[in-house]
């Protein structure tokens, strides 16, 4: 195997690339006997053995990821389920599922563990953020893919790259020091200056890059014949976008939105810094019904699954009921993420069929 027949040197261009890599001064004269192959692949027994077994190492790395997925599920479940099932290391009482998932009464010091406020908080903040981010993100996607001139396209890519790279605590401090003062100086000043609206606004900026880049890909991968056909039929640019391109890209746009949802529901620090961390927000709203407008409820201090974890986990003793319920909330978040990923898979399959 060491002396190569000349015929293997026949495709010259890739070889030239190889040659330059090793010894740029001596170009390979294809076909000449003296020409050394640029890379000297020695076929010792060792290298054959390495070749045979190396894929096991790579497979091992991949399996590690699978193992991690299972490991996270196992360890979160081992602590989260301890809230409902008597387990070793439990110091508190075990709860019924109903009093955790169906109750809005969260008062751990008086033994009440209803997590409904956090679930509802997470869903409302995420929903509001999506309401802002999904339409703007998808329209920006179509703008980048189909309408923007070249320089604008590059500029928007840069902008989205920067937005996605900004750390969540910096988003949080921006909300805290820039947006909240504006809100409390506005006509909303008698409203408590935190809560859903500000968190949702910040979250929407955080998830927009995800939605933009995925929907840009979706529009760019559409066959150009769709666009051309619509225009040949005399449609305007917007008609083509609205009646042809968006419906055609719909499954992937929904996938983009679902992934944005996943990012939003799991975001912890930025939301925690601006939402006001009030687990009793449902009770607060109930007390003040009628006297407050809808806009004011948007500025009620609230709490979500993630913010409550950040807020209270460091203060609880391991093994206590309180601690276990917090881990159960983490488990719930993880299961939601998995469900969302599986949902995007189902959407993808629908597209292929």
């Amino acid at each position: 195997m060491n002396d190569l027949p000349d015929s293997t040197l026949s495709p010259p261009s890739p070889l030239a690339v190889l040659a330059q890599r090793d010894e740029p001064a001596a170009p390979v004269a294809a076909g000449s006997q003296e020409a050394r192959p640029a890379l000297n692949f020695r076929q010792s027994r060792l290298s054959r053995l390495a070749d045979r077994w190396s894929h096991l190492i790579f497979l091992g790395c991949s399996l590690l990821v699978v193992l991690l997925i299972g490991g996270i599920l196992f360890f979160l479940a081992s602590r989260g389920l301890a809230a409902f099932v008597p387990m070793a290391g439990n110091v508190g009482r075990t709860l019924r599922l109903g009093e955790v998932f169906l109750s809005s009464d969260w008062a751990p010091s008086s033994d009440k563990f209803g997590i409904l406020p956090f679930l509802a908080g997470s869903l409302s903040v995420t929903g509001l953020a999506l309401l802002l981010a999904a339409p703007t993100g998808i329209l920006t996607g179509v703008f980048i893919a189909k309408l923007a001139p070249h320089w604008m396209r590059n500029l928007m890519r840069q902008v989205m790259d920067l937005l996605v790279g900004i750390p969540s605590v910096v988003y949080g401090i921006f909300g805290l020091t820039v947006i909240l003062p504006i809100v409390s100086r506005s006509w909303l000043k008698d409203a408590p200056a935190s809560g859903f609206a500000v968190s949702a606004l910040i979250l929407s900026v955080m998830i927009v890059p995800t939605i933009v880049s995925l929907s840009t890909d979706a529009f760019e991968s559409l066959p150009p014949s769709l666009d051309e056909g619509a225009q040949a039929l005399g449609s305007s640019r917007w008609q083509a976008i609205w009646h042809v391109l968006i419906p055609a890209a719909k499954p992937r746009l929904i996938t983009a939105t679902v992934l944005g949802l996943g990012r939003a529901i799991g975001e912890a620090m930025a939301v925690q810094m601006v939402i006001g961390n009030n687990p009793q927000w449902i009770a607060l709203l109930r007390e003040s019904t009628g006297s407050t407008s809808f806009l004011h409820t948007l500025f009620t201090p609230a709490a979500t699954l993630t913010t409550e974890l950040v807020q209270e986990l460091p203060n609880t003793a391991s093994g206590s009921t309180w601690n276990n319920v917090l881990f159960a909330m983490g488990l719930l978040l993880y299961l939601i993420t998995m469900a969302l990923i599986l949902a995007t898979r189902k959407l993808g399959q629908g597209r292929e069929a």
Binding site: S13, F174, L233
Partner: protein, 292 residues
């Protein structure tokens, strides 16, 4: 096609088209404005605080005037450690997915797992790290707990980038390598990986930026304290990073100048991010120059 019905030209077609083009431009420009205001506000707030003293002083616990020297060090140290841990795994998994897994069910299953890990909220990874490394293995809040858990965040990104970069290697290049008698392993290590290196490096820089800004994971694994010594390379001490410091001083509130420190820290983080972005652009240009 039901579309045909709706594509008639009416008197409103043209104005609507023009209006919606305007709306699309406005949304896109809106995002540019948001970014400019954002970066501008953070830098403006942090500018008065930023000086060499701020970067090179130890933090105070109760008095004003503390610096962020150890936090800056911990941030970089943790990013390097976590990248060192996740790079081999990510590279290996990426190589497996692009070169060995084929196109069938195996590939789809592994991709699903990597997507799931990539989408897992960092707070969930934080809980996992807290249970396994901090409590079960008894590492407590330390650099090593933080680095290992942070690596979990990096692995899916590095895997994906490696896979994509390796899939972009021209087939002729690999075939030429096989033609020279190379084994598959030699082709991957000596031909495909060097070709894909710039792409992987770009991904690494982006991953480093993400790890640099991560806070939720580190609050629960690396802790909110820092060693009293300065360069403290021990893995067993708590290691508060810049992002955790930023969060902790704002929400804890014992420091009289918490606002200034938070503003300065945020500005430093934004500056680091901008630098990393420049690096990515530079690498990107290098890739394009070579593949031209």
């Amino acid at each position: 096609m039901p579309v045909l019905k709706t594509l008639h030209l009416s008197r409103t077609t043209k104005p609507v088209d023009r209006l919606m083009r305007g709306v699309l431009w406005a949304i896109a420009l809106g995002f540019i404005v948001v970014l400019t205001v954002f970066v501008g506000a953070i830098l403006k707030q942090g500018w008065p605080v930023l000086n060499l003293g701020f970067l090179s002083k130890m933090p105070e616990t109760l008095d004003a005037g503390g610096g962020i020297k150890p936090q800056l060090f911990n941030s970089i140290y943790l990013v390097v450690l976590s990248l060192g841990l996740s790079l081999p795994v990510g590279l290996g998994a990426g190589i497996y997915l692009s070169e060995y897994a084929g196109k069938g069910r195996t590939l789809r299953f592994f991709r699903l797992c990597i997507e799931t890990l990539a989408a897992t909220p960092s707070i969930v990874l934080a809980l996992f790290g807290m249970i396994v490394f901090v409590q079960t293995m008894g590492w407590s809040f330390s650099i090593r707990s933080g680095a290992v858990t942070l690596a979990l965040l990096n692995i899916p990104v590095i895997t994906r980038v490696t896979e994509i970069s390796l899939l972009a290697v021209p087939r002729e290049l690999k075939e030429a390598s096989y033609g020279l008698g190379a084994t598959k392993l030699q082709t991957i290590l000596k031909v495909a990986l060097p070709y894909a290196a710039t792409g992987i490096l770009t991904g690494l820089v982006l991953t480093a930026g993400r790890a640099f800004g991560e806070s939720a994971i580190l609050v629960f694994t690396a802790g909110t304290n820092t060693s009293a010594h300065f360069p403290d390379f021990r893995m067993t001490v708590p290691g508060e990073t810049l992002s955790v410091h930023l969060w902790y001083v704002t929400s804890d509130g014992t420091l009289p100048d918490a606002r200034e420190i938070a503003a300065g820290t945020a500005a430093v983080m934004i500056l680091v991010l901008l630098l990393l972005n420049l690096a990515v652009r530079f690498l990107d240009r290098a890739i394009r120059r070579r593949t031209r």
